[in-house]
């Protein structure tokens, strides 16, 4: 009798644990709204095939971010949107996108307040100038050759990239 009851209780506990695990997984997708209507792309680039369409104001779930694009679920459709077309709901959502993108979660993204006052204008106003620390910077500065070697050892490949011009009207965002 007692045994049957405790087995049943254990099953309920297990079911709750499993369902909360499942909901924790779905909670990874963060909610957002579409700001600018347009096509969903099949991949994170404008030259990929269209995979549907979303209207302004539509609620979507962000599955992951890649570069300047977010993969979203909108009803049955899944596709990619440029980030500028989305507004992310809620405070902590950005944290989750960062975690999804970097494969890291939690602790490192949480900032502990120092408990005191941050560095601010009053600190600068009463600061006693520390010229010695400025002079010391010359000793820790890296030279051009060392920087080039550092780039090489990190397998950084330089690219030719033109400066981005100021958009004509900051209001139109696509």
């Amino acid at each position: 009798m007692h045994l049957a009851r405790s087995v049943r209780a254990a099953a309920i506990v297990a079911a709750i644990a499993i369902s909360s695990l499942l909901s924790a997984r779905t909670a990874m997708a963060s909610p957002a709204h579409v700001r600018v209507a347009g096509p969903l792309q099949a991949g994170p680039a404008a030259n990929t095939p269209a995979a549907g369409r979303v209207e302004a104001g539509a609620a979507v779930d962000i599955v992951q971010r890649k570069g300047f694009w977010a993969q979203v679920r909108s009803g049955a459709a899944t596709g990619w949107l440029k980030l500028s077309r989305l507004s992310v709901d809620g405070g902590g959502a950005g944290n989750e996108i960062a975690a999804l993108a970097s494969g890291r979660t939690g602790s490192n993204n949480v900032v502990s307040a120092s408990g005191g006052r941050g560095l601010d204008a009053a600190d600068f106003a009463r600061a006693k100038p520390d010229a010695a620390s400025v002079a010391a910077l010359s000793r820790t500065a890296a030279g051009e050759a060392a920087a080039a070697q550092f780039a090489k050892s990190g397998h950084l490949q330089t690219r030719h990239v033109a400066y981005i011009r100021e958009p004509k009207s900051s209001g139109s965002q696509r």
Partner: protein, 281 residues
């Protein structure tokens, strides 16, 4: 008289016009001639000094003085591995910009506050709080490249120079004294840190910074990742200065994403060097 000097002078007079409306000809303590006549040559000389001339030297001296004040409030973090690492990442990025008259020096400020700043002449600082928050070298490169862009465009220095001109016309500066002039520039620069630049300068530094990082071989979307991290922070003492002097992370993501060219989007892949930051944090 060069037309450029004359027009700069006209602008600075115009800027002080409201304050002097009741005394339209009162130039106050602007250097006078021996017999009390207005010494126009002297005034033009002063304006010329401020408007151009030994600009790069002035800029570096003023920047060093501003940095000295900032270090007085939060000293450099003495952790050799981190100091060296940030200098290597920063110096390598600086190879991608046009200005060659800059002595690039990078430092970490020993404070939990979350911020990064650039001073005229090439000193760039990131706080220990922001440094610890970053997840990859691509993200560090994004932060430093934004600051390098400010120096490359002389954003802060241009504002300081304009304010010095206004201060001169309003009789607050005796610019013939070079030391005093540098001190005034440093004071203006320190106030500028607390007040911040125009939003347009911040958006421009975001766009330039992404390009600089991509040129060096970093993930062009590193700044987006940093903005996502900033979004997740609660507003509080450690972020107050950053958030009061910059557009919101949401606005910066939207502006940058809307402006990103296909060339920039194609460079949005994590670099091979990304994980190097772990050993230096």
């Amino acid at each position: 008289m060069k037309p450029g000097v004359a027009s700069v002078f006209a602008v600075c007079l115009a800027a002080t016009a409201p304050a002097q409306a009741q005394f339209p000809l009162d130039l106050g303590g602007v250097k006078s001639g021996k017999n009390g006549q207005l010494d126009l040559g002297g005034i033009i000389g002063q304006v010329k000094d401020l408007a151009g001339g030994q600009s790069a030297d002035d800029e570096a001296r003023s920047g060093d003085a501003i940095a000295a004040t900032v270090f007085g409030a939060a000293p450099p973090w003495r952790k050799p591995a981190a100091e060296s690492y940030v200098n290597l990442v920063g110096r390598n990025l600086a190879r991608q910009v046009e200005r060659k008259d800059v002595r690039w020096r990078f430092a970490i400020l020993d404070t939990p506050s979350i911020n990064a700043m650039a001073f005229p002449g090439g000193i760039v600082v990131i706080t220990r709080g922001l440094y610890a928050l970053l997840g990859s070298e691509d993200e560090l490169a994004a932060v430093l490249a934004h600051e390098i862009a400010h120096v490359n465009r002389r954003h802060q220095w241009k504002v300081i120079q304009q304010q010095k001109l206004v201060a001169l016309a309003g009789n607050a500066v005796a610019s013939s004294d070079a030391g005093r002039s540098a001190q005034v520039a440093a004071d203006l620069g320190t106030k500028l840190i607390a007040r911040g630049l125009d939003k347009s300068a911040e958006f421009e530094a975001d766009r330039d910074g992404v390009v600089i990082a991509a040129r060096a071989g970093y993930d062009s979307s590193g700044l987006i990742a940093v903005m996502e991290r900033l979004k997740s922070l609660k507003t509080g003492a450690d972020t107050a200065l950053l958030f009061s002097t910059h557009p919101s992370p949401e606005a910066r993501i939207a502006a940058l994403t809307a402006a990103a060219t296909p060339e920039i989007e194609a460079a949005a892949t994590p670099s091979a060097a990304g994980s190097r930051i772990r050993t230096a944090q």
